[in-house]
Symmetry: C2
Subunit: 325 residues, 2 copies
């Protein structure tokens, strides 16, 4: 037992997104003591990115009482692999190939670094500080530009044999359905139940029928899930149908996930959840309609109550608490 | 350490099926020392069934050296719940409602009893004695009259929050697809990739086109997956198309399962696997075609090499080794 136990230990959480990287210093109770953000796109080489991150965090660490108080660093990153500490072929980040990010950061920060994908980090954050507190079996689904997921069973994240488990956004819900530009696959959950998917559904519905809609006043290239939401709130029927359709697909997908791991709850997070019952009601109904009897009226669909900016940092920092001394 | 450690410990495995109940005494190496079978349908009351089972096993236990050598009893049963030790609303068993089977058997046998569903028991059997030895992440799929499954992640079976996880046969693969008489749902894996499903596909294909086929010589009510297999082996194209179609659906389903838990392997077991590459080739191809890049050419599809009669007993007995002293 060293001196560090005298003061409460702290953890660093870093969430690397396609646009920005959020980071902060967090205590065991989930209070974010310091936080900031830099662009993820300032450096073509990952070394430059790590240097900028270090410069920002170094000052923060000093203010928090120095490195001795920091248990470790948790990093959430797209295509992050828990087992290898690498970020592999992340289509939305500027660095190509396989990046040994955890190792590189350990060398720079001289602190233990644990890395996983962003949705897994979010799931751990919900388990420690959010809607999944006390749960041992739940599924986290992030509905943003894409669809991410983290699956907890028996109290542990499912990483799979290679560290890549939990790609529920890419499961095929409608065989031979909508093409996903990024993967080349057809009919995946992400191709429908993401912000991108809602926009595509809107364009299809506007083209395939002549129903009047507030959305027809908006130039096509400006139609996005936010505009669809605003129109729906104003009572626009076509906009409501877009969310109804999206919820039907999401509900069908959730039914399959329930029959896989029988979670206590499914926690939804991200931009699309702002549509509230416009999307949640058809989601719930279609989930219940597609599960067999033994699962009916058992599984809660919850919306994360963590603030979006905080959740990313909290989730990543939560990884650090699991580091073995 | 009591006297029992002087002799090698043994476990009892009991597999309760819709027709017969197989049971045996097994050592730690998976050798079945004694085994037998009774009908599952002789008794309208479960008490009578347990009495008959006890009478049969009692003699066996004496021959094996007495109760002192037995660590416990593992039971695999349809709709068996690991947490509660109950069999709940099993449509294929003669006893209605919720049966506290583990508790009733403990009272009768005066030995610890662990119970789970039959496919979960099969998964544990494969992990201890079969194709999944040494694996920590795999999925077991049983392709019999129905489709069962057991999912192992991080070295442990996924039971879910209520003990009912792993109902992959009921996941919806073709939305609004074929009706499943038992569940009332449409398009589930089981409605296609089971012996029952293969028969229905055969009837549909025979009706929907005029292609000549050996199957047209068989009375409709006698067409089953075995007859389809025999015709396919003789080169019958329509029979081959039936397995091709079945493999396509199974492969699509496996792709989704892979993207959920990223297993090292998927172990297939049961009658349909006898069709070999007739079904395995399209299954593999369609699985690979539907997973995203990070999973491609990584996941083995293996056929269980345990004998069907042994596997049921081995799997159930394996449960008993996990009983805490």
């Amino acid at each position: 037992m060293g001196k560090a136990t005298a003061l409460q230990q702290l953890a660093i959480g870093i969430d690397i997104g396609g646009t920005g990287t959020k980071f902060g210093i967090v205590d065991r109770n989930g209070n974010i003591l310091f936080s900031s953000e830099i662009s993820s796109r300032n450096h073509e080489e990952v070394e430059g990115f790590i240097d900028e991150l270090y410069d920002n965090l170094h000052a923060m660490i000093e203010r928090a009482g120095g490195t001795g108080r920091i248990k470790g660093i948790g990093v959430g990153a797209p295509n992050g692999n828990y087992y290898t500490g690498t970020v592999e072929y992340a289509p939305n980040l500027p660095w190509r190939g396989i990046i040994p990010l955890a190792k590189m950061m350990e060398a720079k920060f001289r602190l233990p670094v644990v890395l996983t994908n962003d949705a897994n980090a979010a799931a751990i954050g919900e388990m420690m500080y959010g809607a999944a507190q006390g749960m041992k079996d739940f599924i986290m689904i992030t509905l943003g530009t894409g669809v991410g997921s983290g699956i907890v069973a028996n109290g542990h994240l499912i990483y799979g044999h290679d560290g890549f488990a939990g790609e529920l956004g890419h499961t095929i819900i409608i065989p031979n359905g909508r093409l996903h530009d990024g993967t080349g696959k057809r009919g995946s959950l992400e191709s429908y139940a993401s912000a991108t998917g809602v926009r595509l559904t809107a364009l299809e519905m506007l083209q395939n029928n002549t129903e009047p809609s507030l959305l027809r006043n908006i130039p096509t290239d400006q139609i996005d899930s936010k505009k669809v939401f605003e129109a729906a709130v104003e009572g626009d029927q076509l906009a409501r149908n877009i969310f109804e359709f999206t919820g039907q697909i999401l509900g069908l997908a959730l039914a399959n996930f329930v029959m896989f791991s029988s979670p206590e709850a499914i926690i939804l997070f991200g931009g699309l959840t702002k549509a509230g019952d416009l999307i949640l009601k058809p989601t719930r109904e279609n989930m219940e309609a597609n599960v067999i009897q033994v699962f009916q009226n058992k599984v809660k669909i919850l919306v994360s109550h963590l603030k979006e900016a905080d959740a990313a940092i909290l989730g990543a920092s939560a990884l650090a608490w699991e580091i073995q001394d």
